[in-house]
């Protein structure tokens, strides 16, 4: 069998379709055994791999507009896999996988120095300030494919890596080395009732994500589609999560621009 | 830290970093061993000299 080609798994989120319902967040929490507490009101202390931001154009009625922006881990590629968080981890507890483009986190290796959190401009890395406690009986409903995390370690969105492994196992059993587009999809993608999230291999022209983004792979995956943008493009983090919108103000909200006077 | 940990790679970064580390540690170790062994030798021979700074 041929060796599989390198993948660059990525996501494009249509912000004009997103209604801010939060189904992606719920699906993510259920899929990835994300802990919660009785009082989770302080969002800076809680864990949510997928977080939905609420953006406003700041104009008064009738020109007021809002936009919901779901933010998973951006799985930055940086320059040659030099993503902001991976290079700083002192214990090699996080890794940029050149075969999939996924930034992983090894929970049992992480010792909780939190340098990666300081490095990530998107705040996707979150700390387990408490040990997880599941309501009576809920531990039976946990996903057996995803390990739960202990207090004192950092965690983040993995693009549902366990689903990738499961799909790959199945393919191997069937004598295949390549996955089809629908074989590996993240929980948030499947849960979105508006179909706003599209997930797939940015390297594969047959995948929808590639067709929408038209990534310029020679330039860090910059989108060729003018309606597509990435968060903080100027920093050079080269994220693999893209956003699609027809609204100018939303596109502008994605990056810092110096106002020219 | 050692070549048998699985994340070890034989690249320039590892060689330079660990080279400098083990070089510094060796100097400290050899220096310390020299002082202790010499002191033990001097004590065993019953040498006596002034104390403190040279």
């Amino acid at each position: 069998m041929d060796q599989p080609k390198n993948k660059r798994y990525g996501m494009v989120i249509d912000l004009d379709k997103c209604t801010g319902c939060g189904a992606c967040m719920v699906a993510c929490m259920a899929e990835n055994n994300i802990p919660f507490r009785d009082d989770d009101t302080d969002k800076l202390l809680s864990v949510s791999w997928m977080h939905v931001y609420r953006l406003s154009n700041g104009k008064p009625f009738p020109h007021a507009e809002e936009c919901f922006l779901p933010r998973p881990c951006q799985h930055c590629e940086g320059e040659h896999g030099h993503s902001p968080c991976v290079s700083v981890c002192p214990a090699t507890a996080t890794d940029y996988d050149m075969h999939t483009g996924i930034v992983s986190q090894i929970y049992t290796r992480c010792f909780g120095c939190r340098y990666c959190m300081a490095a990530c401009p998107y705040h996707v890395r979150q700390f387990n300030w408490w040990d997880p406690v599941w309501p009576e009986g809920m531990e039976r409903a946990l996903n057996p494919d995803v390990s739960v995390r202990m207090r004192g370690v950092v965690e983040k969105c993995s693009f549902c890596y366990s689903r990738y492994q499961t799909a790959l196992n199945r393919a191997y059993l069937e004598g295949r080395r390549e996955l089809s587009e629908e074989e590996y999809q993240t929980a948030c993608t499947q849960a979105c009732p508006a179909g706003a999230i599209v997930f797939g291999d940015l390297n594969n022209p047959a995948h929808r994500v590639h067709q929408i983004v038209k990534p310029d792979l020679a330039h860090g995956g910059r989108p060729r589609n003018p309606k597509v943008f990435r968060l903080l493009e100027r920093l050079g983090t080269h994220p693999k999560v893209y956003y699609l919108t027809r609204r100018d103000w939303v596109r502008r909200a994605g990056d810092n621009e110096i106002q020219k006077t | 830290m050692f070549p048998f940990s699985f994340e070890w790679v034989w690249d320039l970064g590892h060689l330079v970093f660990h080279g400098a580390l083990w070089y510094a540690l060796s100097i400290l170790g050899i220096g310390l061993a020299y002082c202790i062994l010499k002191a033990a030798w001097q004590t065993a021979r019953g040498e006596e000299e002034g104390h403190g700074h040279p």
Binding site: L45, P90, A91, W130, V153, N256 | C35
Partner: protein
């Protein structure tokens, strides 16, 4: 009662008074220890850190004490390698202060990690590309150096000197101290620099990020330089405080003057480089990332991070003490000298505060706001803990070890004294 342990030719306060002092400081130490165990048992939820503020008071304290502990390596370098012989009269104390600073840093780091039992992973599974790895290795190695430098001093205790082996050991260690000092300077250069690199390499954080040479951002060199400048200032400051506490002159003025003069020139060159770096960052590095200088200093709650902080760090605690220290007349005035070294020390602390705390407070995503943070009492107590520990170690060392070679000469005992 403990007179047999007290060095010859010097006088110490009665044991009772000494023990009362230790008990008072010990109570503060105990408070810190309680907080430490609370954190170990209950976890980092005892702090006011959060997902936006992963680095906070402790990391600042680490960076600050290591910068201030830089007096040990730089004084050692001047004494043993460059050959400024007068400094032999202050090197012991510089080493002791360095030892306190570095052991404190290691202690705070051990509290700071989320899974302390796995702290050894930083060595075992080292990622050589991380600044923190370099810090951990060099810090530990340099702490070994400081211990090697402190041990002969301990062996000079009157009773320990009676043991022939210890006498020989102390003599031999003094004999090759230049080798240890050189290794210490080498290690210090890298870990002080790597601490600067901690924020300098974060290209996702425009406030901290700096361009540089190869893998080293400019902050790498600035931190080493500032530690070499402000470390000796801290040594002088603590010496002066010790002199006030003991009501004795312990080090001759010409020694202090020499160290202050060197520190002054180091500080002046450092602050010049710092200004150039700030201008380049404000004019080139940050705008390329979409930020203007004022983005980093305005619209934050209560102007906690207003432009005043830049002026305070670079001007009042940078340029001013540098100019004061290079002036011979200021150095001759004890009050002005004290003020100058105090300002320099505050400048180094402020610089570390800004590079860690403000770096995370600044919103990077355009739709986020400034993040705020106030430490919890547990964080404060565990940060004061090493200060109390340092005072106790210094008090014991001063009482029982000949730390200050000039003390007997400067404070002759009355007839019939020990």
């Amino acid at each position: 009662m403990d007179s047999a342990l007290i060095p010859k030719g010097v006088e110490r306060c009665p044991l009772g008074r000494f023990l009362v002092f230790i008990a008072v400081v010990g109570a503060v130490l105990l408070w810190g220890v309680v907080a430490m165990f609370l954190i170990y048992i209950k976890g980092l939820n005892q702090t006011n850190m959060n997902n936006a503020y992963g680095f906070a008071l402790w990391i600042w304290a680490d960076l600050a004490v290591i910068a201030l502990g830089g007096g040990a390596f730089f004084t050692g370098l001047l004494r043993y390698i460059i050959g400024k012989d007068e400094l032999k009269n202050i090197i012991n104390y510089a080493v002791l202060i360095g030892f306190v600073c570095y052991s404190s840093a290691l202690l705070i780091l051990a509290i700071d990690v989320g899974q302390p039992l796995r702290a050894w992973f930083i060595f075992w599974h080292a990622n050589v590309h991380s600044m923190l790895t370099e810090v951990a290795f060099c810090l530990t190695c340099y702490f070994i150096v400081l211990t090697i430098e402190y041990v002969p001093l301990m062996l000079e205790n009157r009773q320990l000197q009676r043991v022939t082996f210890f006498r020989h050991l102390a003599h031999n260690m003094h004999g090759i101290m230049a080798v240890f000092a050189a290794t210490g300077a080498f290690l210090s250069f890298f870990h002080q620099g790597s601490l600067g690199g901690v924020s300098g390499v974060l290209y996702g954080r425009p406030f901290g990020f700096r361009s540089g040479i190869g893998i080293w951002p400019w902050t790498f060199f600035l931190y080493t330089w500032s530690a070499a400048a402000c470390g000796p200032c801290f040594t002088i400051l603590v010496t002066r405080i010790t002199e006030m506490a003991t009501r004795k002159k312990l080090v001759k003025d010409n020694v202090i003057d020499l160290l202050a003069k060197i520190a002054g020139w180091m500080l002046l060159t450092y602050i010049t480089a710092k200004i150039v770096d700030t201008v380049y960052w404000a004019a080139v590095t940050a705008p390329a990332m979409g930020f203007t200088l004022l983005d980093f200093y305005t619209n934050n709650p209560g102007s906690a991070y207003g432009l005043w902080i830049l002026i305070a760090e670079v001007g009042i605690c940078g340029v001013l003490p540098a100019l004061m220290l290079v002036s011979a007349s200021v150095r001759r005035n004890p009050r002005l000298l004290f003020l100058a070294v105090l300002l320099a020390v505050l400048g180094a602390c402020l610089n570390r505060w800004v590079m860690i705390l403000q770096m995370q407070a600044v919103p990077v995503l355009p739709f986020e706001k400034w993040f705020t943070y106030l430490p919890s009492w547990q964080e404060i107590a565990t940060t004061i803990l090493p200060v109390a520990y340092g005072i106790i170690l210094i008090a014991f060392s001063y009482r029982y070890l000949p730390i200050f070679p000039q003390e007997p000469e400067l404070n002759p005992l009355p007839e019939g004294g020990r």
